[in-house]
Symmetry: C2
Subunit: 306 residues, 2 copies
Amino acid sequence: MRCAILGGSGFLGRHIGRSLAASGMEVWSIDRMLSAPGTAPWLAGQVHADCFDLASWWDEMGGAEVVVHLASSTVPATASEDPVEDAQTNLVGTLRLVQSLRQRQARPRFLFASSGGAVYGRPNTVPLSEDHSTLPMGAYGATKLAIEHHLRIAEAQFGLPCRILRLSNPYGEWQQPHGVQGVIAVFAHRALNGLPVDVWGDGSVVRDFVYAADVGSAFVAAARHDGRARTFNIGGGVGHSVNDIIQTLEKLLGKRVERRAHPARPFDPPVNVLDIRLAQQELRWMPQMNFEEGVAMSVQWLRTAP
Amino acid sequence: MRCAILGGSGFLGRHIGRSLAASGMEVWSIDRMLSAPGTAPWLAGQVHADCFDLASWWDEMGGAEVVVHLASSTVPATASEDPVEDAQTNLVGTLRLVQSLRQRQARPRFLFASSGGAVYGRPNTVPLSEDHSTLPMGAYGATKLAIEHHLRIAEAQFGLPCRILRLSNPYGEWQQPHGVQGVIAVFAHRALNGLPVDVWGDGSVVRDFVYAADVGSAFVAAARHDGRARTFNIGGGVGHSVNDIIQTLEKLLGKRVERRAHPARPFDPPVNVLDIRLAQQELRWMPQMNFEEGVAMSVQWLRTAP
């Protein structure tokens, strides 16, 4: 089975590609960045292309039975700053891609990485199950949600099979510590370098974290799933506060981590934890990594990262 | 109070404009079509413009305290045929408009005509209340829903006040009988001309119809509403089957209407009726027109239409 990963050179793309290859698939990465030679040995090939332009990569890799869509030009903060650009690039881009598949009568299974942190909005109940109301609080979540709807519709109307994976906060090796996302990598990097970490409010805000290799195995399961459900929460299924992260790092590093305090951000919901029972039942998937061990893997990678 | 109606020359735009003007507002129409001189005496002015391009109309009319957004380049069928074009024109267009308001620091109240027939998808319970799950079954509904989310977010993030009116199926004078929407106008026109009407399935499919002048008074109420709710169903609140419509026409015309039978369409939910209690409570709005009388108004207009 041949699989195209749109955004296969990034942090998540590497984990998912490795997992899919280990499950026996021929994995190609479609990305605007190429992985350096030798750094992604699980790949059968790479195409340097705009992943939303099907013609620029489909034939070159010989088509695919599975398309994993991880590509995004934005993060929540940049999407809020320029919602036009976010919708234009990511939503309209995905629709163009789907339209091209439709015109070629190609029907690969389409696996989409959505966001369990962004599509639900403020939780009414925790943990959040897939049928919780979806009232995104930012443009990033609104775009993810719109793509979800269009994929569901594309399956119903012209038979493009899809699975939607609503990820919580992935972390692990290859996560870059200089971005605006990825609090574990950012904090670990700063702690390793003796720098203070930024804490908004009292550090009690709770989020769901999922080890990126566990996300990889969720995509493997979703690629082969044949039940009726289409949308799955993929998370750790338990919450960790910002304070938990800091304490875990202090324990791992054997030293105190300095905090830089900022006022609480009113738009941060106090808790976001995903209910992952549907994925357990339907995908036979369970996150395997223990939190402390996973953070240790991140720290270890950051110690030796190029 | 000055009001801009985006799409003010169309069927709904005329009803809403007339209602807003009767309530004391200075009403301008922004449209790519101009109403013929004398046919829209309630208008203070018209600007022939692309309504999504704020610079092309905002200053010319001297700005607005209320913007009524009725503009759409698609209907459900055309949106499904080309979801890229639908999202590009209507969603990205609306986001561009909102972005321009944000950049000018203009904060008019933004009233958006969404679709109670398209955003919910297949009903779990009837009548549909505003907190029913939103799983649109077509691109048209997905775009309407995405615009709703972005407007909610724009209010939270930069203070553009909005009200979202989820309309059922409006009907009444000025509704053209040659479109793919507007079953009452289409059937009435065909019946008047002795032509058969097209019925898919057994005619038992039930929909919610709302007289367009009642939609006008809902916009008047929404323009002045100061409660916390942002999203309102605006419908008749009762269901009428396709057979009901035909029987009503037969009674009004005093003759039999011939039916042309087609197979049922699997994507048509059997029932869609809106729960309008929130609008009753918060907007103090109630549809005033009785169904049979409203259909008679449509028939009367079609008899004399140019």
